[in-house]
């Protein structure tokens, strides 16, 4: 395995202008800046309507220094395929095509086109930045909004259904690479993006993005919230290569240490979960414990020096 990137070895060149239109404390600002560093200059982006459209700014000003094609909501993956096909036809194989869609544009309206491109094995990287709701339209529920979250269209009882597991759906397409990341662990994200673009076919990276207005916390706690999601074991950092899944970074360390922060700490830090009662929290804690029991067992069996 290649050397892990550190804060000292992270490239200094920036591809996002300072002063974007993102909300203060937006996790996407971190993830976008770091991932673009990993992608480098020879990249074309494909973006559907989402918070990233807002972040990138209003015509004729753009916050990104990379070329970018804004496309219709459902068509991100198909447009990326078209770009790859054109670059092939024009004999420009070195240019990377990278799609950046939100959770709605990936898990909901964009899923059909994404599945089609994944099945065809079209050669691009698809990044889903998951802030767990339709945030730029005013915080409505999406397929990846977690259960019990209050949103603008689940205003009284909260969302009744569980979060859709999109990375698992993508892994079921037997891709060359599937990974999960968090905006709160930028170096893990950097290394995964860097690895993904060396592989052929469709690669999928799912980034959890803490969203201060959508989740209901103060902007200064964005990184803390992202870390809590990982430390409680609610959200895992992993990668899937050749259909084999492996925990990475902070999640790998949790497996090694066999200790989880109580999930109540994550829920209580956000106003979107204000209606959750203790039995609902307890039930999710049980699900987490069950989910991690296997990982703890494997870690115990293969204690590395």
């Amino acid at each position: 395995m290649h050397m892990k990137t550190t804060i000292l070895s992270l490239p200094e060149e920036e591809f996002v202008h300072p002063g974007t239109r993102a909300c203060s404390g937006c996790g996407l600002g971190i993830a976008y800046r770091i991932a673009l560093k990993a992608l480098g200059k020879n990249t074309i982006l494909v973006v559907p309507p989402s918070c990233l459209t807002v972040l990138q700014g209003l015509y004729p000003v753009a916050a990104t220094m990379l070329p970018c094609l804004n496309v219709t909501f459902a068509s991100t993956a198909a447009a990326s395929t078209g770009m790859v096909a054109a670059l092939k036809a024009l004999n420009k194989p070195d240019i990377k095509v990278v799609a950046w869609a939100g959770d709605g544009g990936t898990a909901d309206i964009g899923l059909q086109a994404l599945s089609g491109a994944a099945e065809r094995g079209d050669n691009f990287l698809f990044i889903c930045y998951d802030n767990e709701g339709y945030m730029n339209t005013g915080v409505q529920r999406s397929g990846t909004t977690p259960q019990w979250a209050i949103t603008a269209n689940t205003p009284i009882k909260g969302k009744m259904q569980q979060k859709k597991d999109v990375p698992a759906i993508m892994a079921a397409h037997h891709l060359s690479y599937v990974a999960t990341c968090s905006a709160s662990y930028p170096l893990d994200l950097y290394d995964k993006v860097k690895k993904a673009v060396t592989l052929s076919g469709l690669k999928y990276i799912h980034i959890q993005i803490p969203c201060p207005p959508g989740w209901g916390f103060e902007a200064r706690y964005a990184v803390k919230l992202g870390k809590l999601a990982v430390e409680t074991g609610l959200f895992e950092l992993y990668e899937v290569e050749q259909d084999v899944q492996r925990l990475t970074g902070a999640s790998g360390k949790i497996a090694d240490k066999r200790s989880l922060v109580p999930v109540a700490e994550f829920f209580k830090a956000q106003s979107r979960f204000r209606l959750m009662n203790s039995s609902q929290i307890e039930k999710i804690q049980e699900q987490i414990n069950k989910k991690w029991a296997g990982a703890f067992e494997i870690a115990g069996d293969t204690d590395e020096p």
Binding site: K41, N42, T43, I44, V46, T53, V54, Q56, G57, L58, Y59, P60, V61, A62, T64, M65, L66, P67, C68, L69, N70, V71, T72, A74, S75, A77, A78, A79, S80, T81, G82, M83, A85, A86, L87, K88, A89, L90, I95, Q112, A113, S115, G116, E119, R120, D122
Partner: protein
């Protein structure tokens, strides 16, 4: 080379000769033989292009939109509900000013399901900002595809080339296939003013504001309304550009004529039928019969439907006492869209109220309902004899209710 083949194969030959670089399509009857043929050309190595077998028509146009934005010549084809599934992307391609070419193999629209021919699919896409051309035979299909790429790239507006499902797509007719060298001499490779490029980054199709706005260097950039105004201006300009493309085509290939419409026995006609597609050639037989009866009738077949060449159409109808529009589509709650357009053209360009002809509208052939020559003859004759007096309104041919 003179060959006998189907209309779909004529279209595929035109796409191959035009050296389309990216083709994306989703199967739908009666378009399928066209895109099957293209995949065969590409798999066999006869054609150098990327073929993307997408999972939906919405994605087919997404592939073409992105490919064109990246600098490649792109093509797709569809019919009926496939075209409607593209609807959002159809608007997008025009707004983004991409010179795509799409064949629409005309078919009726569900519900209820029909797989047979009418024009409701493409007519319903009239207001999307695409150039729409309707052709009448196999030669016009193959030539039309080649000319469509040139027209689209000259004005940076996408072109829909529409031809009748089954009646043209699946029938076999003789036509001339031009040589590759001949087509290369006519149609240069696609060279856009800008294509997405990391060396020259640009952010395309970003959010625009209601007002104009200055860029980072202090220059005023267009707002949404200016961008849309320019689309309208260039659409209007495309009427003349199409004439130039036609002249150039005639110089290179020795065939062609009026690119906007085609007439038959209209010179001294008192009554002129107006229609689009293969129905126009069907109506020629009726015109001959009416002439035998001593009725001076003619037929104007409109090729360019959008932009609508209203002035030249009004000129072409000048002197007629009656105009009868035969249509395979309907703007439900009013009349055929072509009829409304023809009326508007006459209102604007044909002088005084007294000189304007009466205009009648027949709806026929919906969902592939058989169009009998005798029915056409009787309907047209009745209108010629009584049209000026009869109740002006929509009439149906072949309706059994």
């Amino acid at each position: 080379m003179h060959i006998i083949e189907s209309g779909n194969v004529a279209a595929a030959q035109g796409v191959k000769l035009s050296r389309a670089q990216v083709i994306a399509a989703y199967p739908i009857t009666p378009q399928t033989p066209l895109t099957e043929k293209l995949s065969e050309f590409i798999e066999s190595g006869e054609m150098d292009a990327q073929y993307v077998p997408v999972e939906s028509e919405h994605s087919a146009l997404a592939v073409c939109i992105a490919a064109s934005s990246t600098g490649a010549r792109a093509f797709t084809a569809t019919s009926a509900n496939g075209l409607l599934y593209m609807h959002e992307q159809i608007h997008w391609a025009a707004g983004a000013r991409l010179p795509l070419v799409m064949c629409v193999v005309n078919r009726g629209v569900g519900a209820p399901w029909t797989i047979w021919n009418d024009h409701q699919d493409s007519i319903s896409q009239r207001d999307t900002g695409w150039i729409q051309i309707y052709v009448n035979d196999h030669q016009q299909i193959i030539d039309g595809v080649i000319k469509a790429f040139m027209l689209a790239e000259e004005v940076m507006i996408p072109v829909m080339l529409c031809y009748d499902g089954y009646l043209l797509s699946h029938t076999y007719m003789p036509f001339e296939v031009p040589g590759q060298e001949q087509v290369d001499a006519f149609l240069p490779p696609y060279k856009p003013a800008y294509a997405l490029d990391p060396a020259h980054p640009a952010n395309l199709n970003t959010v625009t504001l209601p007002e104009v706005r200055v860029d980072a260097k202090g220059r005023t950039a267009h707002g949404y309304m200016e961008i849309r105004y320019l689309l309208q201006e260039d659409m209007q300009g495309a009427i003349k550009v199409m004439s130039r493309v036609e002249e150039r085509f005639k110089e290179h290939f020795g065939r062609g004529g009026n690119p906007h419409y085609e007439t038959y026995r209209c010179e001294d006609a008192r009554f002129i039928a107006v229609s689009m597609g293969s129905l126009s050639y069907h109506l020629r037989e009726v015109i001959d019969s009416l002439r035998d009866d001593g009725i001076k009738a003619g037929i104007m077949s409109i090729h360019l439907y959008r932009p609508f060449p209203a002035q030249v159409i009004a000129q072409g109808l000048e002197g007629a006492e009656g105009v009868v529009v035969f249509e395979k589509a309907l703007s439900y709650g009013y009349e055929g869209a072509l009829c409304s357009d023809v009326k508007a053209a006459l209102y604007t360009f044909n002088g005084s109220r007294k000189k304007r002809p009466f205009v009648h509208n027949y709806i026929l052939g919906l969902g592939g309902r058989e169009i009998k020559t005798t029915d056409l003859y009787e309907a047209f004759k009745d209108t010629c004899l009584n049209g000026g007096k009869a109740d002006v309104g929509l009439k149906w041919i072949g309706l059994k209710i």
